[in-house]
């Protein structure tokens, strides 16, 4: 995949390195500016309020996760 990308970049090696770095920076920027801000509210890490609905579901989810992890305990 990356080998294919490298072979299709134009120019000599130094130019390719620069282009590859620029591509990486663009990808990181897209992740930080759009993808991660979209993902963040969908994950439970940043809940701080008390409320009736969403929080209850998250609590239930975390409980079942903890129960599942505890269930694996006998294996270690």
């Amino acid at each position: 995949m990356y080998g294919w990308l490298w072979r299709h970049l134009p120019g000599p090696t130094p130019v390719r390195v620069v282009i590859a770095l620029l591509l990486f920076v663009v990808v990181v920027a897209v992740l930080f500016l759009w993808v991660f801000p979209w993902v963040e509210p969908r994950l439970p890490f940043t809940d701080v309020t008390v409320d009736g609905s969403a929080a209850a579901r998250v609590t239930e989810m975390l409980r079942s996760r903890d129960a599942w992890v505890a269930g694996l305990g006998w294996m270690t």
Partner: protein
């Protein structure tokens, strides 16, 4: 054989890419959201102080109705540092909480009878309440508005389920009761890096003074 090796190679590169993306997300949460939120909080605090500096004695204490995501008061908790100063913004959406501490809409305002309730991040997004667990019963919490310094004293600290909305009722955990006291409630997530509980502080109003009389003596100088 060759095809299988190529496929394995691509799958390996995809897995490495996925790992890098997850690490980048960790960096985003732990560093980037704090950088962004600290900048937004400073902008809110400065804008609010500028507005206060320009107000005339006839202006109301708050610019009602409060605008979602905009600061209307400043919070100081000396236990969390001499320079600890966080804007209190209206609303508890993620956008609002990324600019400071959020005021639960429809709960009382600072100094009013009832329960002035705020929420703040314990981790990421500026994490104003990161070390809120170090606050003890008896500690002072100061709220500065356009006209007044309010001093609240912490009277209770406990942990509840996220669904226990009763903590921000006018009389905490007593639905329908008629409030007589002037309370303040602070909520944040517990434990710090998870979110299956909420850490709750109740405080009561112990002092209220016009800003023309200067800062409350128990607060001391500094920013």
């Amino acid at each position: 054989m060759n095809a299988a090796r190529r496929t394995a190679g691509v799958v390996g590169e995809l897995l490495i890419t996925a790992g890098v993306i997850v690490l980048l997300f960790v960096g985003y949460q732990l560093v980037w959201t704090n950088v962004q939120a600290d900048r937004a909080a400073s902008a809110q605090s400065n804008a609010l102080e500028k507005r206060w500096a320009e107000r005339t004695p006839k202006d109301p204490e708050f610019d009602l109705p409060l605008k979602n995501g905009e600061a209307f008061a400043l919070l100081r908790i000396p236990r969390l540092g001499d320079n600890y100063r966080v804007p209190i913004v209206e609303g508890v959406s993620l956008e609002a909480l990324a600019r400071g501490v959020g005021h639960y809409p429809k709960t009382a305002l600072p100094g009013q009878i009832g329960n002035f309730s705020v929420a703040g991040h314990r981790a990421t997004n500026g994490e104003p309440f990161a070390y809120l667990d170090q606050v003890d019963v008896g500690d002072d919490v100061f709220v500065e508005t356009g006209t007044t310094w309010y001093t609240y004293e912490v009277i209770k600290e406990y942990i509840v389920e996220p669904t226990q909305v009763g903590v921000i009722l006018p009389v905490p955990n007593e639905p329908g009761a008629v409030p007589r006291r002037r309370l303040m409630t602070l909520t944040t997530c517990n434990p710090r890096w998870d979110s299956y509980e909420r850490l709750i502080f109740h405080a009561k109003l112990v002092d209220e003074r016009p800003k023309s009389e200067g800062r409350p003596p128990t607060l001391g100088g500094g920013g």
